[in-house]
């Protein structure tokens, strides 16, 4: 993470002057549990992709899914929704 700014360096009122800056905020650091997908058994139904509240499930070219760990907060919704139970949550 870049150096934290002092109050003198911040735009007035906490305004963010560049669009799309949330991409720089890697919320994956909040995670205490990491989803692990067993890609062998994944059926590519995309339930996890639909349900992920952070759009942190990525569709792979083979029709299956991967996790973007930069933004995955580890909520476990993907694991709970997976109809074939191939996503497990592992302690970080």
């Amino acid at each position: 993470m870049s150096k934290l700014k002092s109050w003198k360096e911040l735009p007035i009122g906490g305004v963010i002057l560049e669009a799309g800056s949330s991409l720089e905020y890697k919320t994956g650091s909040w995670r205490s549990q990491r989803p692990i997908i067993n890609r062998e058994k994944c059926i590519g139904c995309l339930f996890c992709w639909i349900y992920c509240p952070d759009s942190a499930i990525i569709r792979a070219e083979d029709g299956k899914v991967d996790v973007n760990y930069d933004y995955c907060k580890g909520c476990g919704i993907c694991a709970a929704e997976c109809p074939v139970h191939v996503i497990i949550m592992k302690e970080e």
Binding site: K5, I12, V15, I16, A19
Partner: protein
Amino acid sequence: MMEQKVIAVSGDEAVAYAAKQCKPDVVAAYPITPQTIIVERFSEYVANGEVDSEFICVESEHSALSACIGASLAGARVFTATSSQGLALMHEMLYIASGLRCPIVMAIVNRALSAPINIHGDHSDIMGSRDSGWIDIFCENSQEAYDFTIQAFKLSEDHDILLPVSVNLDGFILSHSVEDIKALSDDYVSKFLPPRIPYYTLDAEKPITIGALALPDYYFEIKRQQDEAYKKVLSKFKEISREFSKFSGRKYDVIDNFQIDDAKIALIGMGSTIGTAKYVAKQLRKKGKKVGVMGIKVYRPFPSKEIIKALENIKALAILDRALSPGALSAPLGLDIKALLYEYDFKIPVINFVYGLGGRDISPKEIVTIFNRIEKIAKKKTMPHGYEYIGVREK
């Protein structure tokens, strides 16, 4: 100085008239006694085409201030008004207005808070909001209500400040009493107060994010920055008032000192009671008593240095509060002044009175009693603890 029109108006009408001359782009307000006349008059101005404001009739005060915040952030000049329960309903939005650095001018026609339900004037409403980061100005009469409303826009919209301002006037005592005031011409108000120049503008080509989340890593810095703007308010107020006096001939400062310079004892307070206190102090002077009165004009940010300097030769002091801070050491202004005296190592006896709750009148006779009490504590050099009540039936 220019020629001015003398008009007979109530305090509320004076505010509405001033607001009209300031040409706000957006007014979002919900009527509540005793602020109602402000909203009624302003909506008439809009209906008659006398002012080109977008008047938003909202369903609550929470929505009123929310709409004002949105409009202010979009770059508009914004005005609203409320009282009592209305201000209480705005409470969470008050902090958002100041935190997002929104220039907004709001007339608060001070009224007691329920329960018991009451529509008359006291300062309970504004005192409950005094930590919300607004600039709080108190008026002694309708002329001040008119003058401060105009100056408030200039202060609020200044790029060194960018903070919302409340202009406080006592419910009924000022809001519904008709007085002669001197009003500037529309042209002169426009000259004093040109259209607002927004600090940020909403531009689809250059998008910005307003109101983003700030967690423990940034919230404190943003609040620290906001506090810094507060520190510039008093000098900016003086600068704007000097400019305003060139137009109006009326001089204002952050405090109003009356017969203070050579006074031995003094009374400090806010709002319309200061007018009564000045009258009493004048009478007492005729009897050879060296009494003075100080009216606080800008309550937040608190004019510490100005007050302490004015009190230099004072031997004892009464602080009048038209509000309670239940369970506290003293009432709100009492606490401020006591802390101030401690900070400047200025040990004089002071006595804090709570008066006038729920619109209870305070008479000149009671103010004489207060001055007599100050004389007593000055002689005895004793400091009464806590606060006392004046004008309440104890038996």
